[in-house]
Symmetry: C2
Subunit: 216 residues, 2 copies
């Protein structure tokens, strides 16, 4: 539910980060206001859908004037709880874990990876993009001591269920999962999975059906 007590649909929520990104780009270019028509071009959606989406958050637009870019950016940021600081840790110091630790946009949005965990003794004590790698033995104590909110899981499938089992007993609030498994977290821990092979299959399906499927 949002501030006005309305339930916001999953579809709109999925579009919000994209609004946020486009508005951030506009802001960086010094654009002060934008019409729903212009946003529609960027978002690949109709102007009427844009207006409907944004009305959910209290009607920031003004007829004939458009949307104030700064204000809309700030408001969507608040809805997404961006720009408050979030402590995260990474489990897995492999290629994928390292790649994610190197993303420069995450700290800019307030998402800070403060530690990496791995089982490989050769990696423990080293640094990944400036972040220290700890032993998995220290995981629970570290999470508790630092009040970590989000744990990123970027390890092979075989070890993932065991790690999830450990995480479900902690006080974290969310798991960002890149392992190739599904896992039911208990109430109070949100899980969001990125299943890369599913995305590749969807691309492949769209290619095979390109006449009807359009582009994204």
């Amino acid at each position: 539910m949002n501030k006005s007590g309305k339930n916001i649909s999953q579809a709109i929520i999925k579009r919000l980060p994209r609004y946020y990104r486009f508005l951030g780009e506009l802001k960086a270019e010094g654009v002060e206001r934008i019409s729903s028509g212009e946003l529609s071009g960027m978002m690949n959606a109709t102007a009427s859908q844009i207006r409907q989406d944004l009305n959910n958050f209290g009607g920031f637009g003004q007829q004939g004037y458009g949307y104030n870019v700064d204000y809309l950016y700030e408001e969507i940021g608040k809805i997404l709880h961006i720009n408050t600081s979030h402590k995260m840790v990474m489990i897995g110091a492999g290629n994928l874990g390292s790649a994610i630790c190197g993303y420069k946009s995450f700290p800019r949005y307030g998402f800070n990876i403060i530690a990496v965990f791995d089982i490989d003794p050769k990696k423990i004590g080293t640094y990944v993009h400036g972040i220290q790698v700890h032993s998995m033995d220290e995981l629970e104590d570290f999470l508790e001591e630092h009040g970590v909110e989000i744990v990123i899981v970027a390890i092979p499938t075989d070890n993932a269920a065991g790690v999830m089992k450990r995480l479900e007993k902690t006080h974290i609030k969310g798991v960002w999962n890149f392992a190739h498994i599904d896992y039911d977290m208990p109430e109070g821990i949100v899980m969001e999975s990125v299943h890369l092979s599913e995305s590749l299959m969807i691309l492949n399906y769209k290619i095979a059906n390109a006449e009807g499927a359009g582009r994204k």
Copy 2:
């Protein structure tokens, strides 16, 4: 459109890879048939939704018997055009590119990365998970010569638009994009983007609204 000429909704298409994954796991465990009720538990959807989904592809189920796992797996695989061989190349030999090159499930599904491209002279000629790194200068010739279907783009945002511009002039069929940009490919080239920061923002939103949002 599918074989029977019906348009299949985007929502169903997005669920198909997940069906495929679960059915693959069942197959591996030697399970021969499954009811819509059991599938419903795995898919986090109602049994009636499962039946509706699968009816789109020609009603593979039988009342009181359930679905034949092998048959359904094969049929969904055909719809997704899996198990025919697809040639791919990776642009970007960084952490993310390397991580994706190491995914063992892709070749199993017929997706083969046959070359990596990078601009770093120190990387050219080396191997990433057994795949040779080529100079970006060779890109277009290589794509043409090998009939490459899909190009994976895993490079920093700053260089991405330039690469997309080069790709739009080639005969590839799809781009699997991990760079932090949107780009309009011309008719005939499908683009599927994985925007990791959007997934993280959605996780964050769900945490902040955990009471109403449920789990995934």
